[in-house]
């Protein structure tokens, strides 16, 4: 019978601190709650209290083809970005983990730059590049922007996953006669499965929500955030609350899934992303 020797914390209960924590939680959640509540309000996004419950805004939302077009566009860009970022991110993580080459330190910093630089910088730089290359702005340019910027996310996640990998497994595989290529497909990749899925989910979500970089690379077809942004300029209605509420619902679902995966892959929590800067 092994006992929990780590104590019941000797610090006594602090009601003041608990109250403060509740306030901070309220601050974090209240705007979202208000948003959702008013998506059901007949009389608009403001005023108090909300009096008339209605689903009309959701009905309007579902009939809004422009929104749905933009959602489809976002999905396409997000899916493509996941593919690109994961592939290049995996290779970059492998390279950082296993190879040494001139300029490796610089490469590492470069890959992580889009994470720490404000989005406008990356967006404008890519815009300049697009103009320089004579590229038309379209969903493709948006895809290039997302895919490139999010390599940093993929690299960080997969690098952490590689660190947890037992090197001896790969050595055993080689010892038993498998080539490095076979070892990669049979041993390395399966062990990274959870990291890959978690990274993919994160990239997908970030791409769906991305505005700053997208702002400067968008062409005729809008992504969802840009579509919403355009509407904000024209005037706000609870329909925007409605689509926002749906975004909240989907985000929560995704994070629950992501967190379960993260916990299983035994990598550490999101702050590693920050710590790796």
């Amino acid at each position: 019978m092994v006992l929990p020797v780590t104590s019941a914390n000797p610090q006594r209960r602090s009601p003041l601190l608990a109250a403060y924590a509740v306030l901070v939680f309220a601050f974090i959640y209240l705007p979202i709650v208000v948003l959702i509540v008013y998506s059901f309000n007949r009389d608009g996004v403001g005023g108090f209290p909300p009096r008339h419950f209605t689903l009309a805004w959701y009905r309007q939302l579902f009939a809004d083809s422009a929104i749905w077009d933009s959602i489809v566009n976002s999905l396409i860009v997000a899916a493509a970005s996941v593919a690109l970022s994961l592939t290049l991110g995996l290779l970059a993580a492998l390279a950082l983990d296993r190879a040494s080459f001139p300029g490796k330190a610089l490469f590492r910093r470069l890959v992580l730059l889009p994470l720490i630089l404000p989005g406008i910088i990356t967006g404008l730089s890519l815009l300049m590049f697009a103009v320089f290359a004579g590229m038309q702005l379209s969903l493709f340019s948006v895809f290039l922007g997302h895919g490139t910027a999010l390599i940093s996310v993929a690299t960080t996640e997969l690098f952490a996953g590689l660190q947890k990998l037992d090197r001896a497994q790969e050595e055993a595989s080689l010892d038993l006669g498998a080539t490095p290529w076979q070892t990669f497909w049979r041993i390395t990749l399966p062990n990274l499965k959870l990291s890959l899925i978690a990274a993919g989910l994160l990239i997908f979500t970030l791409s769906m929500d991305e505005i700053a970089v997208t702002f400067f690379l968008i062409g005729r077809d809008n992504t969802l955030p840009l579509e919403i942004w355009g509407r904000l300029r024209r005037g706000i209605t609870p329909e925007i609350n409605a689509i926002s509420s749906l975004i909240v619902a989907v985000s929560v679902l995704l994070i629950v899934v992501w967190y379960r995966l993260r916990a299983r892959s035994v990598s550490s929590a999101p702050q590693e992303l920050l710590e790796n800067l």
Binding site: M1, L3, S7, A8, P10
Partner: protein, 372 residues
């Protein structure tokens, strides 16, 4: 070394310093300590010995103040101890992994206690010097704990605790992280230090050799209860229960019946004045010798057995003897060359110590099968 700088308030060994009165501790539904009553004398080196899960660390933490007893009281001198938070108790702890503050230098670590109580700077500096000298770590005063070896960290942890002149020092398996040789060396240094400064030490360990070497008294804990509290010599030569006999040192447990003044254990028998009934005896292997012709017939048990195994270990060897009727004994004799076949053996009846059965669910296995 003068006792002036660091000495307890009571200088005479034997005064009760800490009193644990009927203390029990539950964690939820789990009953970790059951009705413990124990006294620690001033200046005494008392060891809490037991397997993992026996409750010894919990008891230590109750005294330090990191847990509260579910029932019972702890007194130090004339004051109630368990109602005080840890920072108000004149008791200090040397933690198992030392818990040195990584962001402070050695000097700052050691000075922490006096600093926190706003002692004057000059006095702090002097006390730090003194206590570092005592643990022989002066030259490391400005180093960071992270740069020190395990043994060095252990000394600093000790210094950091002792500088506060506690009435009682608690040590939570402080040597378990050290390798064997360093451990032996630290054991003798620790013992010498304790003698020198005269503070009571309450030492927790699962290593019975360590307990035997260091302690004035050993308190053996099993499943949350005190099995026996005695000096090392007493606990070894007169174990109270079968568990004690097997936990400390090796032994042979002989189960038998007393009838009309005669004990019968399998093939063995001897006279006794005890009452009729079943009985359990502990006979240490070193008490059994090869019979010589001059052995006296009274006060001696003589038996015949076949040597099944002979395990050599340098100065002595262990014989596994088959006495027939499914009875086997172990004897430890001075190394004397290979032996085979049947021989006669003797042991003194004085060495057959009657022990009580160990209570409840704990399995009586052979000592080598016991978990550590």
């Amino acid at each position: 070394m003068s006792g002036g700088a660091i000495s307890p308030d009571h200088a005479t060994l034997g005064d009760a310093l800490l009193e644990i009165r009927s203390v029990a501790k539950n964690f939820g539904a789990a009953c970790v300590l059951k009705n413990i009553s124990l006294q620690i004398a001033a200046g005494e080196f008392l060891t809490l010995l037991g397997e993992s899960g026996s409750g010894k660390t919990t008891l230590l933490r109750l005294i330090a103040g990191f847990e509260q007893p579910t029932s019972g009281e702890i007194w130090i001198g004339n004051e109630r101890l368990d109602s005080l938070p840890p920072y108000k108790r004149r008791v200090n702890t040397v933690f198992q992994n030392y818990a040195l503050f990584p962001h402070l230098s050695v000097r700052e670590n050691v000075a922490y206690g006096p600093r926190v109580k706003s002692a004057p700077k000059a006095e702090i500096a002097a006390r730090v010097e003194e206590v570092l000298r005592m643990v022989k770590m002066n030259s490391f005063a400005d180093a960071r704990p992270g740069t020190l070896s395990g043994g060095q960290q252990q000394r600093i942890a000790l210094a950091r605790a002792l500088i506060n002149r506690p009435r009682l020092l608690l040590l939570d398996e402080p040597l378990s992280a050290l390798d064997a040789n360093l451990r032996k060396q630290m054991q003798s240094e620790l013992k010498a230090l304790q003698r020198e400064i005269g503070i009571a030490f309450l030492f927790v360990t699962h290593d019975q050799d360590e307990a035997m070497a260091l302690s004035d008294r050993i308190a053996l804990l099993r499943g949350g209860s005190l099995e026996q509290v005695a000096s090392p010599r007493d606990i070894y030569s007169r174990p109270a229960t079968a568990y004690t006999a097997e936990f400390i040192g090796q032994t042979n447990l002989l189960r038998g019946e007393i009838n009309n003044g005669v004990v019968r254990c399998g093939r063995l028998q001897w006279k006794t004045s005890e009452a009729n009934g079943p009985a359990l005896f502990s006979v240490r292997p070193e008490a059994i010798h090869l019979a010589g012709s001059e052995d006296d017939a009274t006060g001696v048990v003589r038996f015949r057995g076949t040597i099944r195994q002979q395990i050599y270990s340098g100065a002595s060897e262990l014989l596994e003897i088959d006495c027939g009727e499914n009875q086997s004994l172990r004897a430890r004799i001075p190394a004397s060359g290979p032996l085979t076949g049947a021989h006669e053996f003797v042991f003194s009846t004085r060495d057959a110590v009657r022990v009580t059965e160990s209570s409840d669910a704990h399995e009586l296995g052979r000592k080598d099968h016991e978990p550590q």
